[in-house]
Symmetry: C2
Subunit: 405 residues, 2 copies
């Protein structure tokens, strides 16, 4: 027998790294909530968990539909974000606020750390005997959430990375040399792998792709670049910021002293890894024109590059969480994007247990990585292409050699 409808207010927050479509999930959830009478007030917490702890909430019922639609198309977390894992003390404070505001529907948009936060809050609520629907809404450009075929935010970030490599490959073709581009992705190489979508013509870069899923050795890297350079007289390389040695220590971690409360070492926001790799090529491979760029925060928040499927699915994930919460079947959970088998691209949003996505990281499956560990396979391209969607069309001169005089 279904329990009676739970009536009360809703609280939604955004957490972790922003994405280009995280506001689609926010707006999807808010617009869906308006359809359910058991949800009364709709509050947004400013800066995720921090806003809850400080009772720094806004009234999302006061937003016009037109403004919500504009915000949905705007990159980066409109409610503000945070990287914070709740301590037991925090949980007590969270409850105080949840009870004060009679929050019975709680939604937290984020990655695996945010799923962990949602899980902790849900467990604490259950222990306290406080009935609250508690849902995590999937999001991360890293694409590393368990249970998900892919995650909202990844498609748009991957589109940015692909378009960046399309242009950078052409730049490197015009002024040949070795070009190393460092791409975001702490433990999973999906975003770095998306660089492969940039290839249009034979010989196009990226010519080498290094992922955190395979141990990185500087000598093998130098040898790989030398081999490509000998044939092509140029080489474009995609490197994940998360590449790690045989012991699993991230190469970039050597340059970083910053660790967040989830235990993550700060890898982005520095050009040190790219510069280290460029120096190795300059010194050991004796190639003079070597450049390194670190794509940095542009990958997740660049304004104007969005995958249409990504935007649509992010909206659906937000709406789905509210549907799961109000549908009577589930007390809590996380939204997970599933893809139907077969050639045509079709996804649906399912509900999964919070513990299934909390904290855990999904890695690139072996079938997506080539045997040498320095490129992706056609299976990855088939997987990623529909998530990223159409890329700009580019051309190349036929460049028929002139008759020699």
């Amino acid at each position: 027998m279904a329990r009676e409808k739970l009536t009360g207010n809703m609280l939604i927050a955004q957490s972790g790294g922003p994405t280009a479509v995280i506001n689609q999930s926010l707006v999807g959830a808010v617009l869906e909530a308006h359809k359910h009478k058991e949800i009364k007030k709709i509050y947004g917490s400013l800066q995720g968990l921090k806003g809850i702890l400080e009772a720094n909430l806004c009234d999302l019922g006061r937003e016009t539909r037109a403004n919500l639609e504009l915000v949905a198309r705007t990159p980066s977390s409109a409610l503000g974000s945070v990287r914070k894992k709740p301590t037991p003390e925090d949980c007590g404070k969270v409850f105080q606020v949840l009870q004060q505001y009679n929050i019975r529907y709680f939604f937290y948009i984020g990655g695996n750390d945010s799923a962990e936060t949602t899980h902790i809050i849900n467990e604490a609520a259950q222990q306290a005997g406080y009935r609250m629907k508690c849902f995590h809404i999937c999001k991360t450009i890293d694409n590393d959430l368990k249970e998900n075929d892919h995650t909202p935010g990844f498609g748009s970030a991957a589109k940015f990375v692909a378009q960046a490599f399309m242009g950078d490959n052409l730049d490197n073709r015009a002024l040949p040399g070795v070009k190393i581009n460092v791409v975001m992705g702490r433990h999973a190489g999906f975003l770095t792998a998306a660089a492969a979508l940039a290839r249009v013509f034979p010989g196009d870069g990226p010519h080498l792709i290094y992922l955190p899923e395979r141990p990185f050795a500087l000598d093998r890297f130098v040898a790989d670049v030398q081999r490509v350079y000998a044939v092509q007289q140029r080489c474009v390389v995609a490197v994940s910021e998360g590449i790690a040695d045989e012991q699993g220590t991230a190469i970039a971690a050597k340059f970083s002293q910053e660790v967040d409360s989830h235990g993550n070492v700060q890898l982005s926001g520095s050009g040190a890894l790219g510069d280290l790799l460029a120096k190795a090529i300059r010194d050991q491979a004796k190639i003079s024109r070597v450049r390194a760029d670190t794509f940095g925060y542009l990958q997740r928040s660049f304004c104007g590059v969005v995958s249409a499927n990504d935007a649509k699915e992010a909206r659906q994930a937000g709406a789905a969480a509210v549907k799961f919460a109000t549908g009577g079947l589930f007390e809590n959970g996380s939204t997970a994007i599933k893809r139907a088998p077969g050639k045509s691209y079709q996804v649906r949003i399912e509900r999964t247990e919070l513990k299934n996505v909390a904290k855990e990281t999904r890695h690139m499956p072996d079938e997506f990585i080539n045997a040498d560990g320095n490129d992706v396979t056609p299976a990855f391209i088939a997987y990623a292409a529909p998530i990223v969607g159409a890329l700009p069309k580019i051309g190349r001169l036929k460049a028929v050699p002139a008759v020699k005089k």
Copy 2:
């Protein structure tokens, strides 16, 4: 009395840093050349001066119109590029090739260094008594060519920078801290200044802008950031890669040993400057969350971000050079974009002397820079906005505070 029409072949090449619209100029010139019967074969040199020296030419008459149009919309120099100043010895070799291929129309697309190269070749041709129409076609994302209101390539690069800062400002607003973004521009700050176009709402970054036109002092920079941070609890900074100390020495030059044959020290392709500035804030301002990104080569070659005006004018500049060369009035020169005075944005392409643009650098006029030397003025915004064109519309939540419980 007009001299008789000069009949012969045409050679066109691209030089210096690629841009998102440099192929528009190439295609504009080729399509215009097809209209003039005195121009017989149309050759392209592969990799600029290098291709001429090696007689490595292609037959652009063999390209279909459809493929040329596709190439025009493709970023980065389709013919390849080079950074090379011709030595007197090179000039001899260049002539041999020009004569062998009966080149009477010569076009070189590039910046001030490329204008210098065109000037040298033109002078050498005149001295040798070899009649050849010799034109430079303006191009540079740095926007630093004399005689030009602005240059093809700048508008699209500026659009990329503006969209990057729009997103990055939102990212920094979501996860507050200090964010430093290093933007290209060796001696002129126009591209860095374009970051100011990202501002939409009150309080939006960039909050500080540092240009090569004003001496850079680390202590003033730290104090500026502290002042903004105290008010906003965050700070987004745009810094030109070309910022230099009181003596005019580029700060980034400390990290670089590479100099090209035009005497330019390599500044891009490293994250060192951004990391130095971030460290100064971390150490001296005692702010913990400090990140630096160096936009790097994405600024000039990113695929899919193009200013419509920029693309149009780049095409016109290429066509104009051919018109000047075939029109009977001029033997040589450079194309210069002039803007009509008044509120409506109107440009025309004029012909100027090669020596007027060769080697020289145009800087940001004083009226575009604020008194403190850490921001731009409304006059700059009025100047740059139509060159860059429409930017994506973004929204912000009204975020009405919830009634306190």
